[in-house]
C-alpha cells in the first residue's frame, strides 16, 4: 500500500536520541501518533516509560510541548490545560493526555473517568504495555492472565486483563479506538480522525515491550502482528456508539482465520510458566470477546 504510506505527514516530532529501549513498541507508536496530531498539540503525561523517552532535563528529543504530571493526575492535568487554554483564548490547540496502562487502568482511572464524564475536549491515549514497565515489570490490571511479572514471579498473574475499553465506552464518548504500532497506517488514520472530533476521545495502543514481555527487540512488529492475528488485540473504532472493525482485524473477521493464541504466547518469555488451563482460559477469554465484537460489527 505505497499510496497509504505517502499520505503520512513527513514531519518528524521525535528526534534521534530518545531514551526508550531498543525495539520499544511505544516509541514506534508515539512517532506516528505525533505525526497524526501535528504541531498544534500539547501533551501531558505522568511517570512512565514516556517520561524517560522524552529525555532528561535540559534536553528533550520530542519537539511537541510537554507537561509532566503526577501518576494519578494525567486526565486532570489535561482538564487543566483545556481550561487554562480556554481562559487565555487559545482554542486552536489539541490537548492530549498520554499514560501507560498502570497510569490508566489503575491509578489514573478516577481522574480519567472524571474528565471523560465532564466531556473534556481532549484525547486520552493509553499505551498498553501490560505492566508497570518503568519500575521494572510489575503486574498491573492490564497484565494478561498467565504472565510472569516481578510481582507475580512464581505463580503468574491469576486474573484476566481488565477490559478498559468497556469501561470507557460506558462514558458515552464520541470516539474510542484501539490501535497497534504493528499497523501504523491504521493507527495514523485513527489519530487523524480523533483530532478532528470534539469532546473526550479515548485511544488505546497495544504496545509490545521487549524487556517486559521477554522477546528480542527485533521482533516487536512480529509480536504486535501476532497479537492482532490471534485476536488478543482487536483493531476497531467506536464512533458515536457505532462499532467498526478496522485494518487487519476486519480482514480476519471477514475471512474467519484468526490464529490460536498459542502462536502469540509461545514467543514470549513472560508466558513460560503458563499452565495448560491458563492457556485454555486465555483462549476462551479471547473467543468470548471476539464473538461479542463480531456481533456488534454485524449489528
Amino acid at each position: 500500500m505505497p499510496e497509504n504510506l505517502f499520505k503520512v505527514n513527513i514531519e518528524e516530532y521525535m528526534l534521534p536520541g530518545q531514551r526508550a529501549c531498543q525495539g520499544c513498541g511505544l516509541s514506534l507508536a508515539y512517532r506516528y501518533v505525533l505525526k497524526a496530531l501535528r504541531e498544534n498539540t500539547i501533551v501531558t503525561f505522568p511517570a512512565c516509560c514516556l517520561t524517560v523517552l522524552h529525555g532528561l532535563y535540559p534536553t528533550t528529543s520530542v519537539t511537541i510541548p510537554a507537561l509532566n504530571c503526577t501518576l494519578a493526575s494525567t486526565a486532570a492535568s489535561a482538564s487543566g490545560l483545556v481550561a487554562g487554554l480556554n481562559a487565555v483564548n487559545r482554542t486552536d490547540i489539541t490537548v492530549v493526555a498520554i499514560a501507560g496502562d498502570g497510569g490508566t487502568f489503575d491509578m489514573g482511572i478516577q481522574a480519567l473517568s472524571g474528565a471523560a464524564e465532564r466531556g473534556t475536549d481532549f484525547i486520552y491515549v493509553c499505551y498498553d504495555n501490560e505492566g508497570y514497565m518503568n519500575t521494572g515489570t510489575q503486574r498491573s490490571s492490564a497484565t494478561p492472565m498467565g504472565a510472569l511479572t516481578s510481582t507475580t514471579p512464581v505463580l503468574t498473574k491469576q486474573q484476566p486483563k481488565k477490559d478498559m475499553l468497556r469501561i470507557m465506552e460506558a462514558h458515552d464518548l464520541p470516539y474510542l479506538a484501539t490501535t497497534s504500532p504493528a499497523y501504523p497506517i491504521d493507527l495514523y488514520d485513527k489519530f487523524v480522525k480523533a483530532k478532528r472530533i470534539k469532546g473526550a476521545r479515548y485511544m488505546q495502543i497495544a504496545v509490545p515491550c521487549p524487556p517486559g514481555w521477554g522477546y528480542a527487540p527485533k521482533d516487536t512488529v512480529r509480536i504486535g502482528r501476532l497479537a492482532v492475528e490471534t485476536g488478543i488485540v482487536a483493531l476497531f473504532e467506536i464512533e458515536d456508539g457505532k462499532f467498526r472493525f478496522t485494518g487487519r482485524t476486519k480482514t480476519l473477521a471477514e475471512k474467519g482465520n484468526k490464529l490460536p493464541v498459542i502462536n502469540y504466547v509461545e514467543r514470549q518469555g513472560r508466558f513460560r510458566k503458563m499452565s495448560i488451563e491458563q492457556l485454555r482460559q486465555l483462549q476462551r477469554w479471547v473467543d468470548t470477546r471476539w464473538n461479542e465484537y463480531l456481533k456488534r460489527a454485524e449489528g
Binding site: 529525555g55 510541548p65 487543566g80 490545560l81 487559545r90 473517568s113 472524571g114
Partner: protein
C-alpha cells in the same frame, strides 16, 4: 467605592477570588469549605465572574487542574479543608516545585481518624514543608484582603500561597467586611505574567526527570540539577518575606487596612507575658490579654500571620522585651510539641533572649477555646514560672488527660 457587608469567611474568600479576576477555578466540596465552591459556581454560572469552573472528581485533581492551567498562563484558584488538603499532598509539593503562583484557601479543620468536621489547624500544619507560603487570617476582613495580596505575592516570587482560616469559627461566622473597590484591586494586582508559558510556539518539556547532577544543554551550558532548583525554591521563600511585608504595607496604603505583614502585635510594648498563636486563637488571645491587664498582669499578644516563610527576625523583635511566652496551638507535631512553639524557640536560639516558653495544645477537633480559659492558662504558667518551672511539657487545654 468600598462597601461594607455582613458576610461569612467563605463568602469573603469567594469574593476575594472574584475581585482577583481568577480565570480557572477547580474545587471539590468538603465541610467547612463547601460554600466557597458553591458561591464561586454561582458567580461563574450567573455571569458575574468570567472564569472556567472545573467540577473535578477529587482534590488531587483540583490542584492538578490548577497546576496545568497555571502552566499555560491562567490565574487559578482552589480551596479545600482537612482530608481534601491531605489528599492533595502530592500535588501541593508539585505546585511549589513547578514554581506556580497558585492561591488556595485552606479552611482549617481537624483530620481523621476518627472523623471530625470541626476546626483545628492540623491539616495545614501538616503541609508546612511543601514549599508554600502560609498565611493565617484572624477575621473575615483579613481573608478577602489576604487573597488579593496573595496573588500579588505569588506572582512576584513564583511561589504558591495558602490562605488559612479557621473552619466554622470564621468560615461560617458573619462579620462586617469592607469589600475592596474592584478597580482598585485591578490596579493592585497587575495581570499574571507566567515565568514560562507552555505553548506550541515554544515547545519544551516541563518538569521532566532530573539526575542528581547539573547537566549541559545542547549549547553546552550547564543547567540546574534537582538540588539547584530546590535551593532556588528555598531562596524564593526566604526572599518572599520582604515581598509579603511590602505588599502588606502597600495594601494598607491603597485600602487603608494593615494586617501586619509577617505578624501582628497587640499591647506588647510593655508586656511581660506574651500570648502567641495563629488565626482565631490569636484573636481570642487579645481578649484574654485584656482580662489579664484588668487584673494588673501586663499581657500582650503576638499573632503569627505568616507561618512559612517563618518570620524569624520579626519574632525576635516582637519577643525581645518579654519575660515569658505562652504559645497556644490548634495542632501538634506528634511525639514532640506544637510546631509553632518549636519554631519560636528556634528563632530565639543564638540570641540573648532567654525566657520561659510554655506550650498549650488547644481546640483540637473544634473543642472550645474561650478567652477566660486562655487567661487562666497564662495565670497558671505565671505561677509555674514563679515556682521555677521554665520549660514544662506541652499542656492540653480543656482536655481530660487523667
Amino acid at each position: 467605592m468600598a462597601e461594607v457587608q455582613i458576610m461569612t469567611g467563605n463568602q469573603a474568600a469567594a469574593l476575594g477570588a472574584k475581585l482577583s479576576h481568577v480565570q480557572v477555578v477547580a474545587a471539590y466540596p468538603i465541610t467547612p469549605q463547601t460554600s466557597v465552591t458553591e458561591m464561586l459556581s454561582q458567580l461563574i454560572e450567573g455571569g458575574e465572574l468570567k472564569a472556567e469552573y472545573i467540577r473535578v472528581e477529587s482534590e488531587h485533581s483540583a490542584l492538578a487542574v490548577c497546576i496545568s492551567a497555571s502552566t499555560v498562563g491562567a490565574r487559578v484558584f482552589t480551596s479545600t479543608s482537612s482530608q481534601g488538603l491531605l489528599y492533595m499532598h502530592e500535588q501541593i509539593h508539585w505546585a511549589a516545585g513547578a514554581r506556580l503562583p497558585i492561591v488556595m484557601c485552606c479552611i482549617n479543620r481537624g483530620v481523621g481518624a476518627p472523623w471530625t468536621i470541626f476546626n483545628d489547624q492540623q491539616d495545614s500544619i501538616a503541609q508546612r514543608d511543601t514549599g508554600w507560603i502560609q498565611i493565617y487570617c484572624r477575621d473575615n476582613q483579613e481573608i478577602i484582603d489576604s487573597i488579593i495580596q496573595a496573588y500579588r505575592i505569588a506572582e512576584s516570587v513564583y511561589v504558591p500561597v495558602m490562605i488559612c482560616y479557621d473552619g466554622f469559627v470564621m468560615s461560617h461566622t458573619m462579620m462586617p467586611v469592607e469589600i475592596p473597590d474592584a478597580a482598585a484591586v485591578s490596579d493592585f494586582i497587575p495581570p499574571y505574567k507566567p515565568h514560562t508559558i507552555l505553548s506550541p510556539e515554544a515547545p519544551m518539556n516541563i518538569n521532566p526527570v532530573l539526575f542528581p547532577w547539573r547537566r549541559a544543554n545542547t549549547e553546552g551550558v550547564l543547567c540546574d540539577g534537582y538540588m539547584e532548583m530546590r535551593y532556588k525554591l528555598q531562596k524564593a521563600l526566604d526572599e518572599s518575606r520582604e515581598v509579603i511585608a511590602s505588599t502588606s504595607r502597600q495594601f494598607a496604603g491603597a485600602f487603608g487596612r494593615d494586617h501586619g505583614g509577617m505578624l501582628w502585635q497587640y499591647k506588647t510594648d510593655d508586656a511581660e507575658i506574651i500570648l502567641a498563636g495563629m488565626g482565631s486563637v490569636a484573636s481570642e488571645a487579645t481578649m484574654a490579654a485584656d482580662m489579664l491587664r484588668s487584673e494588673g498582669i501586663k499581657a500582650g499578644v503576638v499573632g503569627i500571620r505568616v507561618f512559612r516563610p517563618f518570620p524569624k527576625e520579626d519574632v525576635r523583635a516582637a519577643f525581645r522585651t518579654a519575660k515569658a511566652i505562652c504559645v497556644f496551638e490548634k495542632g501538634i507535631s506528634y511525639g514532640y510539641e506544637g510546631a509553632l512553639c518549636s519554631e519560636i524557640k528556634a528563632a530565639l536560639y543564638g540570641t540573648d533572649i532567654r525566657l520561659p516558653i510554655h506550650n498549650y495544645i488547644c481546640g483540637l477537633g473544634g473543642r472550645d477555646v474561650k478567652a477566660r480559659e486562655l487567661a487562666e492558662a497564662v495565670r497558671s504558667s505565671r505561677d509555674a514560672i514563679a515556682a521555677g518551672d521554665t520549660e514544662p511539657v506541652p499542656k492540653w487545654l480543656n482536655c481530660f488527660t487523667e
